[in-house]
Symmetry: C4
Subunit: 388 residues, 4 copies
């Protein structure tokens, strides 16, 4: 049994007259999700910074890298397992951190986390989630999970978040570096839609003892005051490389620096002793007109790929994309918007489908390109097209 | 009389008020075929793997290679004849193997084979055809034909297929290397449409004595059991280069390895002593995000073009495309989906038109670029555009 | 007074409430022409070979070359005059040969020739015109004009055409090399539309004494027989470089070889002693999948630009395009389809507008890029964009 | 408080149910402006020369340059201040000169100048404005402002314009070099729309004492005569580098040469001792088929970036674009059409929004790419994409 059996299962059910409940083609899935949500939430999920050219660049960077399949190798059994940040996972795929998932579905992160857990894939709980990290941990059950930190202004609050994550059994700390301020997002600005100002996505703050201790009145009694403190705490653009030392002291969890795009920053992260560099441009949501994330990965991988664990996201839209990023040095690959489309359309089952379909295509693509083990993928499996 | 006369004939009939019965422009033909078929069959024919980017890459690779016409050479008579795999053919063009052609037209392979035979062009019978290879051979009559092998799990079954092909007068064995598993095809998965699970396209198996001997009850009495065995036999991803020795012993037919894209695989095929390397990515149906097939041909041709017979398909959409592939080293060029469009719209006559029109454009393009013989085409006839 | 005054005149008339009678934007003009003509004639005018990719390549080749304007040079008076093939013309622009212009407008070539003459621009009369070369010469009056030869199979007929052209005062012989056979043109084939088989565009043949002497019955009495002879005479793919010697002996007119795309053919033409190489791919009408004509000019100009007069057409759609081709070595630039659009929409006045507007934009572009004389344009005025 | 607070403010108002009054996405703003204006004025504002390929090239040049964000630098306070042409401005952004702004809104330049002044951003008053430079100066109040000179044929008139500008407190003289003649603009020609021939945009001439002294009757009594003189004075294509010496003697204001695209012209401008080279192609309105303006900036900046103050415009459509131009050596960046869209849709407030939104995105992009000061931006902040 491998992930490719998902395909067999769909065809098998077809013989009994059952068609897939949800779109197989992610472009259709995206379109269905867009029709289901109101403009505010949809814009928040779909939107990117500025003219959204970074988003396009993410796709272009992926399309330019092309797979060169190999033939006549025994690929009857494939091993997709990989150890990432000290944990053995069944496949090198994870759910990237996304906040306020209740925008897409009432169950939000709980549904997504359950889906990831059912497949053994790490869910990354965002500090800006609409469920507490503790509730998400409970939903994930025994499955490994990671915690994404929006590092707040007050170090005691940051420390509290980290301690809670450790206590709740999260096994890695993913620190987002590219969002000390929100990017200029025309879709959200058009709707004047920022859920956090309505008290959505603040629950990790409002339930935090350190956060509460900074308030005169409780968030329940004075929501406006709590939101105001959230706003002050969230924006924290003074953090520099020097602060990593303090962070290191707070936790023994592996530290992942998320949002790195420049090779010198990657080198510095390695020097700083963090366990992982997460090459990402936040799905193009922060800086418009920036390089495609896979272009960054290509360079960073060459420079420090053997000295750190590289994670990657921004633009992945199928198993073939995952093969490309893995070939270019990503230890694991994150899915972002696509799983939210699944969540919007089908709740936890929808998320599960998105993951399972990506894994099926990944498994098949491995096999059909002559690789029996995910670890066989390296830069020789792909080629940079000169036709773009 | 040459193939270009097809053009004269169309114009001549125009003077008597007759317009062509079927679309001349293949884009219109494709669109007409799509309207005629139900979504399942159409999706099966038209679909590719994943986001269908390999399919796009096939076209891009062809468009980037541009012909540089030569003037003032005597091209009054053109010779398109070429010896391919030991047989002299009137033109270096063949029908690529396509399964279950009854999806497009009730007569399926019989109609296509008759059309190919009428023009002396080899038809390649697929193991997954909807008519037996013997029936197709009968339809083809005296015309040369090739047999495509989906190499099954059981060697005795593989041997049986080969023996039947030999007995039925097939003159080459085209072994598909890229489909030990089906690619992830969103169109088919959307419809949960896999004809083989309905008993379509299994007839070469169900009629095979070795296959039947493996069943407790006959396919007629127990279709489900027969289909289950088909599924087990079809998937055979353990085959490696080492198995070619066994294959070689089974037949004296020339062996063609179909699906090669990497230059090292091409070299290895030559070392393995097969007669032909068939550069193909299955029309983009197996691996998404892969290189364009003509990009592969360009490299492979340089490396082993003088040591083996190179066949080519994936993306050919007209006579100019054929000239490009032939110039870059293909000994013969295969047509895939376009002839199925013809089949859907006009049965055997429709297939004949597609072939005849490609040959006419090929003949005219030869003449108009200054070549009197197909053998004059080489890499100097084309140029890699730097404008893509 | 310069060509730019056309612009002033349009604005001046605007102050009295008059708007231009015909579209200024050629894309609108093309669209209006397409709506005015029946599908057969429109397809014949608009269509190209095969998938029409050569036509696209013509535009891409032009778009990739970009002008780099220079400032602060005295451009108050511009000189666009140029000697081409021994005649001094007011501007380096001509009408390319196009057959059967009555497809676009009842007056056909007579209207176009009058328009060209009114601006002193050479009209090129096609052998396949729908008016005799003598009638066209009369319409052109004192204005210089060129004769395009479809070199027929019978040398005595060819000689007759040439003698008639000389007698009618044509000052150059433009020999088309790329149309010994018609290209594969899906639009015409769809309509089974070839005007010559209906007796349109054959008048230069039917009125020719040598042609008539080869017929048993006159074209008036036996049109079918005359058309049959036309078909036999038209197709003449045996002509080679060696035949140029004979041609040379027939005339003292400058000989222009039209349709050259390969640098070696250009060199050979120079060696053969012809006066001019006409870089053209017949507007993409003959060979699909070929290089863009300006790409050919770039190479040919470097190789033989100083040894022969280079003419250029295929893709010119405005004055900026003309500046590009002139900068890259064209001595004069031909307009094709655009003047037929003008003809279709406005008869002779429509053709005049097309020419005048191109000249105005050419004049303005010269001035605005810092050139007071057309002869100042060279390769340093443009740059090859690396962004395509 | 920084420019990014504009974003916060929009979201804050969102919590009270207020959505932005005008489109945030400039593509929507453009579309709304186009619907609001009549075809003549809209065509004048939106149109470019010829096929408008230079306009496309401006965007392509900007898209090809991609930002590479840096992480973990203290960007809590950003300094966008920059000294340009001797004046300290709060940000390196200005409004490019645009004539006859009453085409977009009754208040025209007065509204735009007030908006610029409210943000401390220089407004550039065009000689072809629809308000006198004195009235605009009054509207701008204490805010710095620049004067754009269409250098007229009569030196005494030129001198008069310059003296008026000095008297009205303009602090720089922006001399346009690329418009001695109007480009060929199909949209305006289609409408036969040139506002200056109706007496719009001539007010700086009609009110000028030197201009009036050249007329027999006043513009009020004989508008046609005044317009005729305007036409004669406006067109002045004899100006060359040698004339700069005279210009230099007329004023102690810094001289900016606007419209330079060639590196040799930039070098010559430096040699001529002007204070600033303004790299611009007039938004593609003058020469079609020309290079993208940012491509010009890249080269010019390398050659003379350290010897002069480089200004830049043509194609800027957001804060990310501004970061690119600034990184490549622009000392300040001009906005053109976008502020006119704002003017058309919302008058002075609309202009203010356009500027404020660009500044907000610029500020955020600075922060999110790791820059605390605009002066930290250099070529290392961007990368030339090889994917176009």
């Amino acid at each position: 049994m491998g992930y490719a059996d998902e395909q067999n299962e769909i065809y098998r059910r077809g013989t009994t007259g059952q068609r897939p409940k949800r779109p197989i083609d992610w472009r259709v899935l995206e379109s269905q999700a867009s029709q289901q949500l109101r403009p505010g939430p949809w814009g928040y999920i779909a939107g990117s910074a500025g003219r959204e050219e970074t988003n396009d660049a993410n796709r272009t960077a992926l399309s330019r890298v092309q797979i060169v399949p190999r033939m006549l190798r025994d690929v009857s059994t494939r091993n997709l397992e990989r150890t990432v940040l000290g944990t053995r996972f069944p496949a090198p795929v994870f759910l990237s951190p996304i906040g306020v998932q209740t925008l897409a579905h009432p169950e939000g992160e709980l549904a997504s986390a359950r889906a990831a857990a059912s497949l053994g894939i790490p869910f990354t709980a965002s500090t800006a989630g609409s469920h507490t990290l503790e509730a998400i941990a409970e939903a994930a059950g025994a499955a490994p999970r990671w915690y994404q930190l929006y590092w707040p202004k007050s170090r005691d609050l940051a420390a509290s978040f980290i301690q809670r994550a450790e206590a709740a059994g999260y096994s890695a700390l993913v620190v987002t570096l590219d969002t000390w301020l929100l990017g200029w997002r025309p879709r959200d600005l058009t709707e004047a839609f920022l859920p956090f100002l309505w008290g959505e996505g603040n629950i990790n703050y409002f339930t935090d003892p350190v956060f509460r201790s900074k308030l005169e009145r409780s968030p329940e009694d004075d929501p406006a005051g709590a939101i105001a403190l959230f706003v002050r705490e969230f924006s924290n653009p003074t953090v520099t490389w020097d602060d990593l030392e303090w962070l290191r002291e707070q936790t023994s969890l592996p530290i992942v620096l998320k949002g790195i795009q420049h090779v010198d920053d990657a080198r510095r992260a390695v020097d700083a002793g963090v366990e992982s560099v997460f090459v990402s441009n936040h799905g193009g949501r922060q800086v418009d007109g920036a390089i495609g994330s896979l272009d960054a990965l290509r360079e960073i991988s060459k420079a420090v790929g053997d000295q750190t664990e590289l994670l990657f996201d921004s633009g992945i839209r199928g198993g073939a994309d995952a093969v490309k990023a893995l070939s270019l040095g990503a230890r694991a690959v994150g899915i972002g918007r696509p799983f939210i489309w699944g969540l919007a359309v089908g709740g936890s089952d929808g998320v599960r489908d998105v993951i399972a379909h990506l894994l099926a295509e990944l498994d098949l693509t491995l096999a059909l390109t002559g690789h029996a083990d995910i670890d066989e993928l390296d830069a020789s499996a792909v080629k940079l097209s000169d036709a773009h």
